[in-house]
Symmetry: C2
Subunit: 224 residues, 2 copies
Amino acid sequence: MKKAVILLSGGLDSATCLAIAKSKGFELYCMSFDYGQRHNAELEAAARLAKSMGAVEHRIVNIDLAAFGGSALTDKRIAVPTGGVKDDAIPVTYVPARNTILLSYALAWAEVLGASDIFIGVNSVDYSGYPDCRPEFISSFQVMARLATRAGVEGAPMHIHTPLIFLTKAQIIERGVALGVDYGMTVSCYQADDQGRACGVCDSCRLRKSGFEAAGVPDPTHYR
Amino acid sequence: MKKAVILLSGGLDSATCLAIAKSKGFELYCMSFDYGQRHNAELEAAARLAKSMGAVEHRIVNIDLAAFGGSALTDKRIAVPTGGVKDDAIPVTYVPARNTILLSYALAWAEVLGASDIFIGVNSVDYSGYPDCRPEFISSFQVMARLATRAGVEGAPMHIHTPLIFLTKAQIIERGVALGVDYGMTVSCYQADDQGRACGVCDSCRLRKSGFEAAGVPDPTHYR
């Protein structure tokens, strides 16, 4: 079985991405990050998801993004916006260089494992305000990853899989439901409480909620 | 004054790189990493260098590369080789995806600072065994960095400076001496002791020693 490293936040997208990697027959190595999130509910969700999908290993890496500030998700002085997504600006919930850092750690682990496949649940359709969710960013990371590593010099080239990148939230949900994902186990809210209950009004909650509506799937989210 | 983030290990190359950034008139923001090195002597050297060069800030970021193992520099079960550099293999002192991870953190800090210049003292001449020291890796990282960040979308493109990349160790030393670098403050040894004294036989010591010889500069290294 080929090994794959899957970036798993505990949210709806990464849970679907994990199910897709599993359906493709990969041996699953899940990686999550504790980067000073406002809450740990999503890390607990990630652990439950990894276990339920039969992952061989689930690593939680401590990273110190909060030291840089600059995002509503890691800097407590910046409020999480609840007024809806604006079309043509990068949201304040953007974490500087986050996906670059997360993929770099995945790359390091993949290299140690001898894996040449990394899965990340980025999406450029519903939420294109983050520069590091765009397909051109992922392509450039893949080019860089092949040059950065022992594998790129000596072995199989690294492949960054983004199975959700061109799907709408509704399509992601339909895909996940078909693969048996229990979305009640996932946490997407930017300001979930200690029990993982969602606020229902942040950008992430709004997108998730309308995704279930558009897919015609009952919303299993635990709202507070 | 334009701000620059400088990756500073405390070794000979990064000290020279810092002096070059200073000579170009940048405001200096130094970043070092505690990644489970065998000793802390080089981090102490980095702190002294940052101070002596007038850096505005010096951040030490804790990262958990040791958790991945796979290198003689972070995994205590792998011995540091002392038999000289082999020509056509990647050395066991290679740390998986290290420069990718370090540059990603520099990118995050640069973005928060509003800086669009990052300096890294990689070198592809004397020690080309590391895949992530090659110019093609750096170029690909720069392409990726421009796509990864807010700046790449809205502002000045990120520039990754590698002023040492095509210099021999002797040329690096000549350049640094001309800029007033005190190499007695730097620590290059892969297995320095608590006082920062060098072993004299690891690959890094060998390259450094022969660099001073070739440059005709007295070697100020503290050997044990």
